[in-house]
């Protein structure tokens, strides 16, 4: 396993109390594999990613438990300086809004070249040549001329390509893309996603794709991990989850996708709001919004159940590759 997150806990200490943003997340991604992490705003998907990258703002953030194993080594035990060398070279991140993620006062060539200057100790001139190559690689037309341009002179799609180029520059083993297409036009979204998927295949990288867009996920992901209130509620290979979700929250998300045959009808929405992370409901965090909730859901925190075709009941902790659901009634959900 290239990256394995085990039972990660992150909390934020604020003036109003402690917000438990991540409560025991475990997931893993292999080289060449794409894991989609799905969830609403505030479900902890971005915080988990920031913890993996080591760019969480601490304070107010605090990692209170768990391990982040990268090639078998626990990153949380690394010194900051060692960690910094991993960032960018071994693992890189792509952000949602490319315009605000690029420095407005540096030309894109300088910013791309910086990767080589920082990590490879290249001269500015060589780094510039590399920057042009990278821009060509992500198919930015006229790279040689445009390398001196500033971020605001590019369109949204082109800017996101530049971000991808920066992340890919040193051919890292792992890329985390935090909603890479959310800020883009629908037409451009597909191109950027295809480019990302293509580069991932070519370099055989592990990709963690954080998104709330199920349409994007279906195209590129191998596995899906659905997060709710800082926990993974369901984890499964992508086609299993689309065929039959094993958690009512996943079912709700799938039902919320607008479909062409529904034209004219009211769109489905999961009722209620995501929980306040300072007061996560007891029992299953989803119970106040769950159409299937029973009494035990309000008291007992559901463990991760292994979802199997048979009715055999086994509790698993974390064994990636399997299908898991954190719902007491996953079987009813699967068949209903």
């Amino acid at each position: 396993m290239l990256l394995e997150v085990r039972d990660l806990h992150v909390e934020f200490r604020t003036r109003d109390g402690i917000a438990r943003a991540v409560n025991g997340v475990s997931y893993g991604v292999d080289a060449g594999e794409t894991l989609a992490v799905l969830g609403e705003s505030g479900s902890g998907k971005s915080v988990t990613a920031q913890a993996i990258m080591g760019i969480l703002d601490m304070p107010p953030g605090r990692i209170t438990g768990g391990e982040i194993l990268f090639r078998g080594q626990d990153l949380l035990r690394f010194k900051e300086e060692e960690r910094r060398k991993v960032r960018g070279a071994e693992m890189a991140m792509i952000f949602q809004d490319a315009l605000s993620s690029l420095n407005p006062v540096l030309s894109v060539g300088d910013q791309l070249g910086e990767m080589f200057v920082v990590h490879r100790g290249m001269s500015r001139k060589d780094a510039r040549t590399k920057a042009v190559e990278l821009m060509d690689r992500v198919r930015i037309p006229g790279a040689r001329e445009r390398v001196k341009d500033y971020p605001h002179q590019f369109s949204g799609g082109m800017r996101q390509r530049i971000m991808i180029a920066m992340a890919m520059a040193l051919e890292p083993a792992l890329i985390i893309a935090d909603e890479p297409t959310t800020a883009l036009d629908v037409t451009v979204q597909a191109q950027v996603m295809d480019l990302l998927a293509e580069l991932q295949r070519e370099f055989h990288m592990g990709l963690i794709l954080i998104t709330h867009d199920l349409g994007v996920v279906a195209d590129v992901a191998d596995r899906i991990a659905v997060m709710y209130a800082g926990r993974i509620v369901e984890s499964a290979p992508v086609h299993d989850i689309y065929k039959a979700p094993a958690h009512p929250y996943t079912r709700g998300l799938l039902d919320s996708i607008p479909r062409l045959d529904q034209k004219g009808q009211e769109l489905y929405a999961i009722k209620g709001l995501p929980p306040n992370l300072m007061h996560i409901p007891p029992g299953c965090a989803f119970n106040p919004r769950c159409p299937m909730a029973q009494d035990m859901c309000r008291t007992d925190v559901p463990p991760l159940y292994a979802v199997t075709g048979t009715d055999a009941v086994t509790e698993v902790d974390e064994s990636p590759g399997n299908r898991t659901s954190a719902c007491h009634f996953w079987r009813e959900c699967l068949h209903g």
């Binding site: 060398k85 952000f95 006062v105 002179q153």
Partner: protein, 336 residues
């Protein structure tokens, strides 16, 4: 126009038929259609934002410079300041007398050939003294501003970047300095100094002036630090010093420049004030403040001896404040 590689037009490539079918239930189908069109749309040379050949790559600074060149306030104040700097460097180019060569017999005499501004109470040529006074004022103003800007932005920038206890301590120290009345502080501190050079005055100005710049630099760094591009640079492995110097400083320096330019004017007037009160510069240093002070007892008999240095002082201070305004408008159009 570089052609996109053929495989890019096949978003389904590398996917199993089953996955493709799943995609079509979501948004995948619509996005696949969009790929081919959208790609060609974006391939227009120069990008959709249309940077024509006449429009060269523009940074914040070249933008600001373009604004400044068209601003009459900047042109006028700039010319005045250039002239001041010129006569500070080469006062002999427009005067032929020594400011210290005085003839008591001509005391308080008015304008006459060769002595356009007349004579002061000691029989010194007012024109020559006004010209040489510029050197003192500009020296004090520039050095004090440089010292203040350097000390203030380094301390404030570090405090804003690292935060924590150091930041809190620095903020309280700046509060203490803000509570010191400048003129009273000058009277107390400088009255014990016997040196005849400009250094004690400059040192005093730096001591009292840095908290203002420090506050502005701190606030500016904190604002810039929250930008996504800083987070992105961190995620790609930039070190603290690189983040601060290359990503934050260039984006945070504009308010410091504006305030420092305006402060330059106020330092010049502060020097005159302190010299007038007898605690600033001391004869034989030639200073407008000293001359104003010396001429004030004879204001009824020889008003010219007071008015010329006062006018020069007012014009100089005004020029720097106008310059500061123009620079602020150019660097931050939102403030206008």
């Amino acid at each position: 126009m570089p052609e996109p590689t053929p495989e890019h037009h096949l978003p389904g490539a590398g996917r199993t038929p089953e996955e493709g079918a799943i995609a079509d239930t979501g948004m995948g189908g619509a996005m696949d259609l969009a790929t081919a069109e959208g790609e060609t749309l974006e391939k227009t040379p120069g990008g959709p934002q249309g940077t024509g050949p006449s429009e060269k790559a523009r940074s914040l600074w070249s933008d600001a410079w373009r604004d400044l060149r068209r601003n009459p306030v900047f042109i006028i104040s700039g010319l005045v300041i250039l002239f001041l700097v010129f006569i500070s460097l080469w006062p002999g180019s427009i005067t032929w007398l020594s400011p210290l060569k005085c003839d008591l017999a001509k005391a308080q005499e008015g304008s006459q050939p060769g002595h356009p501004f007349g004579f002061d109470g000691q029989g010194c040529d007012v024109y020559t003294r006004v010209v040489y006074g510029a050197r003192t004022s500009v020296t004090v103003g520039v050095l004090a501003t440089l010292g203040v800007a350097l000390l203030g932005s380094v301390l404030g920038g570090l405090a804003g970047f690292f935060g924590g206890a150091g930041d809190s301590i620095l903020s309280r120290i700046t509060d203490i300095f803000f509570a010191i009345p400048v003129v009273l502080g000058g009277l107390v501190l400088l009255s014990v100094v016997t040196s005849n050079t400009v250094w004690p005055v400059i040192g005093f100005m730096v001591l009292l002036g840095w908290p203002q710049i420090s506050r502005i630099a701190r606030g500016s760094v904190i604002t810039v630090k929250q930008n996504d591009f800083v987070q992105a640079a961190r995620a790609l492995g930039a070190s603290h010093s690189r983040l601060l110097l290359r990503h934050i400083a260039p984006n945070a320096v504009a308010p410091v420049i504006v305030v420092a330019t305006i402060a330059l004017g106020t330092f010049i007037s502060l020097e005159a004030t302190l010299s007038y009160l007898g605690v600033g510069l001391k004869p034989p240093t030639v200073s407008w403040g000293i001359d104003i002070s010396a001429a004030s007892p004879y204001i009824r008999n020889a008003p010219h001896a007071l008015l010329w240095p006062s006018g020069a002082l007012a014009l100089t201070v005004l020029a720097f404040i106008m310059l500061g305004d123009a620079v602020r408008d150019a660097l931050d159009p939102k403030l206008r």
